[in-house]
Subunit: 133 residues, 2 copies
C-alpha cells in the first residue's frame, strides 16, 4: 500500500497515517486479513519515528480495524470491520460539531456544510466502486 | 465565559479550548471586541499548562478569530469573523474526509452521515437563536 505523508502539514503525522490506512480499507486496497508492514519497517520506509507508527497502529487496533500481535504481525481485522458503536457515534458527533462550529463562525451556510459532508462521503464510496460494506 | 475541560478525553486540551471559544463566538456569548483572560490567568484558572493555552490562542489568532497583542490583551476579532477562505474550505474538506472515511469503514450509510452533519450544524445555529452571521 502506498502511503504519502505531508511533513509540512499541520495534520499530525500519526493522523495522516491513520487516515490513509482507513481510506485504504475503504477503497478495498487493504482487505481483511491483509498484512501491513511492521512498525519498524514502516517507520524506516517513511523516515519517521517508531513511536509515530506505533501510535497510529495502536489507535487502529483499539478501534478494532487492525489486529496487532507477535505471531501474525499487523493485519487488517480478519473478522471484518466493527460496526457503528455508540462510542463511535458519540466521537463522530463531537468531531463533526467542532467542524460545524468553525464553519458556522465563518458564515458557511447549513446547506453548504451539509453538501460538503455528503460530497466527501460520496468521494470515499466512489473509490471503492459504489459498494458499501 | 465558562470553559469546561475533560482531562480524561482523548481530544487534546488545546483542541477542547479552541472548540469552546469558537462555540462561544457562535452562540454570541463572546462578541467581537470582547476580552478573554490572559494566557497566564486562564492557565491558572483551568489548572493547565501555559503552553496549552498559548497554543489554542495562537491557533485562533492565526485563523483570524482572535487578536492577541500587548496593548489590548486577547480579544475576539473586533472587525468581525473571517469568511470562508479557500484555505479554510480545503482544511474543512480534508477533516470531513477523514470523518467520512471512518464512518464508511464502519458501514454508516451516506444518508446517516449527511444527516448527522446537518444536525450538529443546526444545534450550533439553534444556540445562537437561528441567526447567521
Amino acid at each position: 500500500m502506498f502511503i504519502e505523508l505531508d511533513l509540512q502539514s499541520e495534520t499530525p503525522i500519526y493522523t495522516q497515517l491513520v487516515d490513509q490506512i482507513v481510506e485504504g480499507i475503504d477503497s478495498g486496497e487493504l482487505k481483511p486479513g491483509d498484512s501491513l508492514p511492521s512498525t519498524r519497517s514502516l517507520a524506516e520506509d517513511l523516515g519517521i519515528n517508531l513511536h509515530t507508527v506505533n501510535k497510529a497502529y495502536n489507535l487502529l487496533k483499539q478501534e478494532g480495524l487492525l489486529q496487532v500481535n507477535r505471531k501474525t504481525g499487523v493485519i487488517v481485522q480478519p473478522g471484518g470491520m466493527p460496526g457503528v458503536t455508540e462510542v463511535f457515534a458519540e466521537k463522530l458527533r463531537r468531531q463533526l460539531r467542532s467542524l460545524a462550529a468553525a464553519a458556522a463562525v465563518r458564515g458557511m451556510a447549513e446547506e453548504v456544510f451539509a453538501q460538503e459532508s455528503r460530497s466527501v462521503y460520496q468521494d470515499i464510496i466512489r473509490i471503492r466502486g459504489g459498494e458499501q460494506y
